[in-house]
Amino acid sequence: MKFAVIRFPGSNCDRDMLNAILKSGGEADYVDYRETSLEGYDGVLIPGGFSFGDYLRSGAMAAVAPVTKAIVEAAEAGKPVAGICNGFQILTEIGLLPGALIFNDTHTFISRDETLKVTNSRTAFTTGYQPDETVTFPIAHGEGHYYCDDETYDALKRNNQIVLKYTDNPNGSRGDIAGIINEAGNVLGMMPHPERALEALLGSDDGKKIFENMANWEAAHNEIQ
């Protein structure tokens, strides 16, 4: 599995993303936001950071960048697409994931380890985690408050699209939501950083499985059938 790690001006977790997928047995290249094709790639990783300086709204400018059309095509083709932190914000701005990320309810930037619960381990991204397994991933965001209307929230619950929840909600997110997938199950967005949780020596290696699953997408997919 070869992944495109998209680089926007202001992306700052791109090296961690590349490292995470390479370490997990995948292949990956950096792909510039001005590219218009993702031919030859089996998946897409959208890293965290402050793409385009968060001008207008976080993720808004990235959502209209030249590479976006190719990201949408990859998602529609069923390829794995994962957006972490700013990547999640970008995926909601594009409309590949429902809802929006607004300012933390304290209006402060929060950077710390956060305890989360894997609320759906029957997805190709999260297979291998125990149901309701508790994991520790760092968070680092000012706009991580997940917002959606009642109808969207009910649909997320009904379709088991909520994959990660905060155990102690840091930002006001609706229903403690930290990460969701699309209905088809091939697009993942999450605010916490699994790519910063790969080494027990550095605090936590709880994030490894997500990248191993993506690097072995077909096997992961078969596991949940």
Partner: protein, 85 residues
């Protein structure tokens, strides 16, 4: 050529943390009569078009696609005076 004033605000049910912080600051300044502060954005731009229907189409299309996130925001615009060319 016309000048457009586009106002983007959070929908009323969306938490406005900036507005809340300002509200507290204003009360600390002794102005208890002020409440429900909502913070939005104003965009000004020129459009090389005079036909109002075409202006409406362009402004709406761009507002829906980029200027506003209609999941959390609403927008409205006013056509200001003719811009001297």
């Amino acid at each position: 050529m016309k000048k457009i004033e586009l106002i983007v605000t959070l929908q009323p049910q969306v938490l406005d943390t900036q507005g809340e912080a300002l509200n507290r600051a204003v009360h600390e300044l002794g102005h208890e009569e002020i409440n429900d502060i909502r913070v939005g954005k104003v965009l000004y731009f020129d459009i090389d078009e005079t036909d109002e229907a075409k202006i409406d189409e362009s402004v709406r299309r761009l507002s829906e696609k980029l200027f506003a996130n209609t999941v959390i925001e609403t927008y409205s615009y006013t056509i200001l005076d003719e811009v001297a060319e």
